[in-house]
Symmetry: C2
Subunit: 343 residues, 2 copies
DNA sequence: GACGTGGCATGCAACGTGGCAAGTCACATC
DNA sequence: GATGTGACTTGCCACGTTGCATGCCACGTC
């Protein structure tokens, strides 16, 4: 069924080696020969044998991407961009979903995938650094999102501190005074939320304000429901906020719904900002102010890191790539109404 | 870095073949020898070479899943279940996203993936049957969702006609009289929407009602925004509906938002039903009545089909697996208020 | 002691490909 | 006509694994 080089060679009356040369273009072949061989190739629908190629070359052309959950729009969008970016390098992308658990994150690292993949891009939530270190010592690995600074794996993320800083500063500039932060995740090994909280606090401090711990709300997941719950709690508190900075757009969309349920107007009574710039946020009413990480560049740079390692160009020390982001101001953080805070 | 059988054999003082036998257990090995070899295996951290195994055995242990979009919660959930189901068979699942375009759907079928995968599960939207036929002739293929009845590939789906019938019958039972159907997709090769429309019409006919073409709304995508648009149009029409059956939960969630924007109460003024039973619908307010396909079984049966084909147990003719579904009645289709339809 | 049996170990071959170096051939140059 | 040159082609080998056939040895049986 699957034609091999040998069969093509026999039919074309040339050596196996010449057919190989026609296919790969690695050595000169006379035009007439090339044409004849090519014709047989087409005729027999020759496709190079993946296993044999790998056995010979040591490469599979397969790259893995492990995200916590595909049902999260941010990761789904990101995965799509990785597929495209991989395609540009003629790599095939293998996507896996870890569920945000250490076990899931270890699956491709330790499992059969280990020997199949040329490289791996991982967005870890739960996995302790030791596991990453061990793997990175033997295989090309790129980590997405924040980790401890002395990691050994290459590392791509936005500057979460700066990004959070600019959001809170923007909220202050629209005249808000009590700005809540929703999305702290103390249970995760992942440091992203911690970095954003840091930037948020710094912005408050830079404006001469003291962060109010009552306005920093932890969440168990980054889903809509948690955003809604957080905002309900905030609105029920004795001193409700007049702005909420959610650490993901999903949280912000949940927050938006909760606010609306309570009859709190957005942005007039409550400003809302998110993070990620997912499509749903663009089409929400009001549309969502957010931080837009350059997702395309995250994908591109992450694969570039892998390519460097594969080519042996990788530096011995882990690289730390910071991808640009920008604040996208939309309707949900319009000017506050004059007068007292709601309620 | 990666130890080969040869190295292990040398260090253990046995033949390569014996080491292979220890690893695979395919031939008897004396206990003493086995132990000694095993010790060296552990010591050198031997891992079988994937490529060489495939080259010999012809199997990769890799199975592909192609869905239109991962950002759609239904497909994301489904993909997650496929990952789990594949794991149970010690297969690795390669997920790809086609964008719902013929080109994207052809990528894994025709591209490099073709030779890499032991089998493929495809959820086609745009691909003409010829492509599927050609591929299925050469490789194990399972198609998800409705296709023309005389397809050559194995085929797993729910009974969309029956499922749609039960939804519309339920809406009629709650006292609704003008039931709209949102989600017709005349531009797709995919027949799923057509089957649901058929079931919907049959339910109306069975209740002695004549379907009103003005209440059948086509959509370009299955996203929230399209559901919202459809409902706005329906509510603006001279004779608005008192119930809407959306062909996906995503559409229904969009519809829910649009209804709320217009001040139309759900379910009092307008009943809403969806399809897919995605998580967002369970936590929406009001929670969404929907059809729950047994997604876990879709994954399990689809992989079973592949396994059968791989084992040569596949029948010559295409198999057609119908997976059970159930109607999940929640808040969004509660009893109508007495009195005239809204507006 | 010859023979058969069964348990275990081994060597050979092959899967399809690509690197390497040697080979063939035509043609130009001296 | 011998030699060199360059363009093209080819055979050999190795990658790591496993199927197959064979080899070796000890033991039991006639």
């Amino acid at each position: 069924m699957a034609a091999s080089l040998r069969e093509v060679a026999a039919k074309a009356g040339v050596s196996v080696r010449t057919v190989s040369n026609v296919v790969s273009g690695s050595a000169p072949v006379a035009a007439a020969t090339r044409e004849r061989v090519q014709q047989v190739l087409d005729e027999l629908q020759y496709r190079p044998n993946f296993a044999a190629r790998q056995l010979r070359g040591g490469r599979t052309g397969l790259v893995g991407l492990v995200v916590p959950e595909l049902s999260s729009p941010y990761f789904a969008e990101l995965a799509g961009l990785f597929v495209d970016a991989a395609l540009e390098r003629s790599w095939t992308l293998l996507i896996d979903q870890s569920g945000g658990t250490a076990e899931g994150e270890r699956r491709l690292l330790e499992g059969s995938g280990r020997r199949v993949l040329d490289g791996l891009v991982l967005s870890p939530w739960a996995l302790p650094p030791e596991d990453l270190t061990r793997y990175a010592g033997e295989h090309p690995l790129v980590v997405l999102g924040e980790r401890d600074p002395h990691g050994v794996a290459d590392h791509v993320s936005v500057d979460n501190v700066a990004a959070a800083h600019v959001v809170t500063t923007h909220l202050l500039a629209t005249g808000r005074t009590r700005i809540a932060a929703v999305g702290v995740q103390p249970h995760l090994a992942n440091a992203t939320a911690a970095q954003r909280l840091l930037g948020h606090r710094q912005a408050l401090a830079d404006a001469g304000r003291t962060p109010d711990p009552a306005l920093e709300v932890a969440v168990s997941t980054l889903h809509r429901a948690e955003g809604a719950r957080a905002v309900r709690e905030l609105l029920d508190a004795p001193h409700p906020p007049d702005a909420v900075f959610c650490f993901s757009d999903q949280l912000a969309l949940g927050a938006l719904r909760a606010a609306r349920e309570r009859g709190v107007r957005v942005p007039e009574d409550l400003a809302l900002a998110g993070f990620d710039d997912i499509e749903d946020g663009r089409y929400a009413t009001p549309s969502l102010t957010t931080v837009a990480p350059d997702k395309q560049q995250i994908a591109a740079r992450a694969l570039q890191c892998l390519a460097d390692r594969l080519a042996g160009r990788g530096s011995a020390v882990a690289q730390r790539v910071v991808v640009p982001h920008r604040l996208v101001v939309r309707e949900s953080t319009g000017r506050a109404t004059a007068g007292p805070a709601p309620r």
